[in-house]
């Protein structure tokens, strides 16, 4: 009887574990199925790298959207990675414990703020700042609704993720290791640079990838500040149109246009694949680190 229970429990838990994995496959499969309509007319690469977006003429080039996603994500990471890593280093290596204990929940709270709120804040503060201050500073015109605004808002949304994971990584570095470096006469900064960051390198990498995959998929806040113009952005002051924004803006709206629906499915498929690959990579590395730290 007990063995039967054990068996049942094991089966049930296995099933529960399998469901999320299965779901992802179902999603992939569904999206692929619904993208068939457009894939029948255009090649995969043609869709990905075509730069003309004229749905009425039956032209579906996703390059502006892919580029928009990549640009905004890249700008966000360029801002977020150094700032959040330095913050994490400060909190874990320099700040007194009281400051650290106070900041941690605040950082986690930031992660919980709905992205619309970030978006509104971006429209109120970041867009005017970019349009009226930064752009004139560089001698260009910009409405403010731009790659840069998207990147800044996104960076701020990614901070908590990277800071949180990086703090975990740093706290896994044994205290004695720091003392070893210090006792050889190294300064705190030298110790951070050569020992703590090095020991936590993989973990930091995973933190960045986790932040990145969040950035890739983030929709709402970015959508509100990037301008949503389906053209290849030429500078960070140009508007862009990232993939998630395309889907969110148009799904259910333009369905009368032939194959539009299928094109959006294809966009979702591409986005899902990108996020999936990044997440799998991050998981893989995290597991490796756990094994190393034990």
């Amino acid at each position: 009887m007990r063995r039967l229970k054990d068996l049942l429990a094991r089966r049930a838990m296995f099933l529960l574990t399998a469901v999320p994995g299965l779901l992802v496959f179902l999603m992939l499969f569904g999206l692929l199925l619904r993208s068939r309509a457009i894939l029948a007319f255009h090649s995969f690469t043609g869709l990905l790298f075509g730069s003309g977006w004229h749905p009425l003429k039956g032209e579906f080039g996703f390059l502006p959207f892919l580029a928009g996603t990549l640009w905004v994500t890249l700008v966000a990471m360029i801002i977020a990675v150094p700032v959040s890593l330095l913050t994490a280093v400060y909190l874990s290596e320099y700040a007194p414990r009281s400051v650290r204990e106070l900041t941690k929940p605040v950082v986690d709270l930031l992660a919980g703020i709905p992205s619309v709120v970030y978006g509104v804040w971006g429209v109120l503060m970041v867009v005017p700042f970019v349009g009226k201050v930064l752009a004139p500073l560089f001698g260009v015109y910009s409405s403010g609704y731009s790659v840069l605004s998207g990147g800044i808002v996104l960076a701020i949304m990614v901070f908590p993720t990277i800071i949180h994971v990086a703090l975990e990584v740093f706290s896994a570095v044994p205290h004695e290791l720091r003392e070893t470096s210090l006792s050889l006469g190294a300064t705190t900064w030298e110790t951070v640079k050569h020992v703590v960051l090095r020991k936590g390198l993989q973990g930091i990498f995973a933190a960045v990838v986790l932040g990145l995959s969040r950035a890739f998929g983030e929709t709402m806040a970015v959508l509100m500040v990037v301008g949503n113009v389906a053209r290849l952005p030429k500078s960070v002051f140009d508007p862009a149109y990232p993939l998630p924004a395309l889907i969110a803006n148009n799904y259910g709206e333009m369905m009368s246009i032939p194959r539009y629906d299928s094109a959006l499915m294809f966009a979702a498929l591409v986005l899902l694949l990108v996020v999936l690959v990044f997440n799998l990579g991050a998981r893989f590395i995290l597991v490796k680190i756990e094994r190393k730290v034990e």
Binding site: S98, E179, T180, L184, A186, K199
Partner: protein, 253 residues
């Protein structure tokens, strides 16, 4: 009259928050001898070693009173830089702490930080230190492998060599053999004995037999108090304090 020893501890008190861990400890550490600090666990031995190295600086809520002199420099003088003090002491910790880099870089780390950049001189130095540690033959083909792949015993000898590479004056060992097998422990003990001809050595242990094997001078720490200290022979043969006697007979541990 004997000349004043290099390292003198005067009225040192350390507390973590409200807990007083070292109580008014004063000790002259004889030069070029092995001073062994014994005492049950939790009595403040590690704290005492760390205070010598100013590793307590970064601990939250720590309060340090009193003075530690190296020659005539008070290491807790606010004008003294901690890195300058730490460089004078090589620390060997309880578990071998290899830095996350190659065997070669572990040794070269300290000298590089202190400004030695010349690759050839670094190579010479690394080879010399590894040879002195008796490690050269074992690791000469693995210099560029991660140091974490060495055996624990080899790691501890590497750590000792790494500490010596920055040319300290004093060697501090915090139960340096507690993670090692008996044979590696012997090797490390013998290394320490060999080193006392050139360095002042302080070793913390709670293994009495080890203290008997290596100590020239003993200090017994109990509940943060320095109960008794003196030359090894006298200490073991003629303990004065009843608590020391109780500890030596194993009544308190």
């Amino acid at each position: 009259m004997e000349p004043q020893p290099h390292l003198r501890i005067r009225n040192l008190s350390v507390s973590y928050g409200a807990q007083e861990v070292l109580k008014n400890v004063s000790l002259d550490v004889p030069d070029r001898k092995i001073t062994v600090i014994i005492g049950p666990s939790g009595c403040g031995k590690t704290t005492l070693l760390k205070s010598l190295n100013r590793l307590l600086d970064s601990v939250d809520g720590v309060r340090i009173e009193g003075h530690i002199f190296i020659d005539d420099e008070d290491i807790y003088d606010p004008r003294v830089e901690a890195t300058h003090i730490r460089k004078k002491m090589g620390l060997l910790s309880q578990k071998p702490q290899v830095l996350p880099m190659s065997v070669f870089d572990n040794i070269a780390y300290g000298p590089k930080i202190h400004g030695l950049r010349d690759r050839k001189r670094l190579r010479v130095l690394v080879e010399r230190e590894l040879k002195a540690a008796g490690l050269w033959d074992e690791v000469k083909d693995r210099l560029h492998e991660p140091a974490s792949r060495l055996s624990v015993g080899q790691q501890q000898r590497l750590c000792l060599a790494r500490g010596l590479a920055v040319e300290p004056e004093i060697i501090l060992g915090d139960e340096p053999t507690s993670a090692l097998d008996p044979q590696s422990s012997r090797i490390v003990e013998q290394r320490l004995i060999a080193l006392k001809s050139e360095y002042t050595v302080i070793v913390v242990t709670h293994i009495l037999r080890q203290a008997r094997r290596i100590a020239d001078h003993l200090a017994f720490l109990y509940l943060g108090e320095l109960v008794e200290h003196g030359p090894a022979a006298e200490f073991f043969a003629n303990p004065r304090d009843p608590r020391t006697r109780a500890y030596l007979t194993g009544e308190i541990s």
